[in-house]
Symmetry: C2
Subunit: 326 residues, 2 copies
């Protein structure tokens, strides 16, 4: 195999979407072009490739995950790291952390995997009051937090690109989000890797015991219908590659087909040496603006046409191992 | 497990996205609501659930796949069925059928699986002229068919919903498509399951020997950059669940990690008894309009808020086994 090109690009390509050219030889030999091709949409951000933007990022353009708002979903195949967004679902996130701390999730299972939609985890006996796993100190259900009041203290990097599902979309502390200034509400949007709270028909029937993760086309029709609590920042492929269920709603038909959940832990409760130390690119910087522009209009040699547009869910916010982490 | 509700819904839910409510009890006991909830967007199509729309569909609302424009990708795990769109890439599709008929693909491999992006198949020795698999009668590369001239003879069911990537989106003979009447061009959009032709940097370097399938967030930035030839109508989960590659660009690092391609066959060349007989919902009928509306504004009890909008890639065009097929 020929020498692949610069490391920053390769690291990025190994775990995020849509950066890499599709041609195989291109993959192995493409170099960064000095002069970008003509762009179809002039933006304030400079014309750079994604690799160039990330290579030029300063340490302050990144932020470390807060262990108090990070969950580790421990599966037999490895660890899925979830970043929580407490500004958008404070009560649910407090409850999910309480559930994790009382070890409610440990021993539950992934019971459903629907292609191009979601994987879902819960207590398979959840509906049976006699046999279901008891909840000790946490709550089984909560009032919904489908949207929260807009507050100017909430960071919001607005995307100039139009969106059909919301008046405005953008990014808040590393999460894809939407905003309706007329209604004075904001919420997280459903993108690949989004983590939400399953519920029954009553809107106050969810609370955290049942969680799902998006593994397909962004199901934006779920926006404002469920409480979104965060997103997977590492290990989503451990979920997206699970065999699909063959029962109704793609649930597994046999208990042995389910994937057991060894544990869900709050990262702060895990010994420091056992933590997965990750940085997320800040979404309130000029570096981030340049990153978005590099995804809106791809400057890599391979592209013949530039989109001149980006959807909020196509902005694959970069995550990296924390440099010099122990 | 409780008795699941009506069959038409269940069959649909087992293989398509975003129909099914997320709550587990809802899944098992939801009934069709007689009176739909208030909608936020009045449309000409009636307010019905997806299940009701499909239950009311007439035989003429469906069309059988044309075996001359259907490919079977035969993997060790089973068959992936691909419908080709000859109106959008006539030369590439003729060449891919020629490649299939000279058994070029047989014995090649899936060499790359990138989470939330694509799986890609080719001859791992493609770049080595000495060792690569020879092509007999077909062509190795072709001039691009990234877009084709708009022609009023091409069916186009326009979506009224705005799209950021194209002036207009809609559906043509069962494929998600876009149109630019000013430029008088039309093309297929990249959605989950879209099949396209890999290429190197020169736009005329693709031709069909290398193919990819989208398995994540619709990578619409690829629109007008590659020749799209069709979409997977059955078996995409055989691709989307493949272990992700760990090398640069998510290529497999070891040959034994690749998935071998037993064969790609034109369905018409397969004995009738061995064909997979499928119907696709026609996209030029009032039933289809009602289907789209049922996905734009979900009428199932579970939904508290309706989106009032749909993206072209969120319309999961229904496919069913042909009734009474031998």
């Amino acid at each position: 195999m020929a020498e692949p090109h610069r490391n920053s690009t390769n690291l990025y390509c190994t775990r995020t979407a849509s950066l890499c050219a599709l041609g195989l030889a291109t993959m192995l030999s493409a170099s960064i072009q000095a002069k970008p091709p003509v762009t179809t949409a002039a933006k304030s951000a400079p014309a750079q490739t994604t690799a160039a933007v990330l290579a030029a990022a300063k340490p302050g353009d990144w932020r470390a995950l807060d262990p108090q708002n990070t969950l580790y979903l421990e599966l037999p195949s490895g660890r899925v790291v979830i970043e929580l967004a407490p500004a958008f679902a404070p009560n649910h996130i407090a409850n999910i952390k309480a559930l994790a701390r009382e070890k409610y999730y440990d021993g539950l299972a992934i019971v459903r995997a629907q292609d191009n939609y979601v994987v879902q985890m819960n207590d398979p006996d959840y509906e049976n009051e006699a046999t279901r796993k008891p909840i000790k100190t946490a709550k089984r259900s909560l009032p919904p937090e489908f949207t929260v009041p807009w507050d100017a203290k909430i960071p919001f990097t607005r995307l100039p690109d139009p969106d059909g599902y919301a008046p405005e979309t953008g990014f808040s502390n590393g999460f894809a989000a939407a905003r309706d200034l007329k209604a004075q509400r904001t919420w997280l949007t459903h993108c690949y890797g989004t983590v939400g709270v399953g519920r029954l028909n009553p809107v106050d029937s969810g609370g955290g015991p049942e969680l799902y993760v998006v593994i397909g086309t962004p199901p934006r029709q779920l926006d404002r219908n469920v409480t979104v609590v965060g997103r997977v920042v590492k290990g989503v492929e451990l979920l997206s590659t699970l065999p699909r269920g063959t029962g109704p709603y793609s649930m597994y038909e046999k208990p042995e087909q389910r994937t057991p959940i060894n544990a869900i832990r709050v990262a702060a409760d895990v010994p420091e040496k056992e933590r997965t130390l990750l940085d997320v690119l800040r979404t309130d910087t000029s570096t981030f603006d340049a990153f978005v522009e590099s995804r809106r209009n791809h400057r890599e040699d391979w592209y013949a046409a530039q989109a001149g547009h980006i959807n909020v869910c196509n902005v694959d916010i970069p995550v990296r191992p924390t440099p010099d982490a122990h």
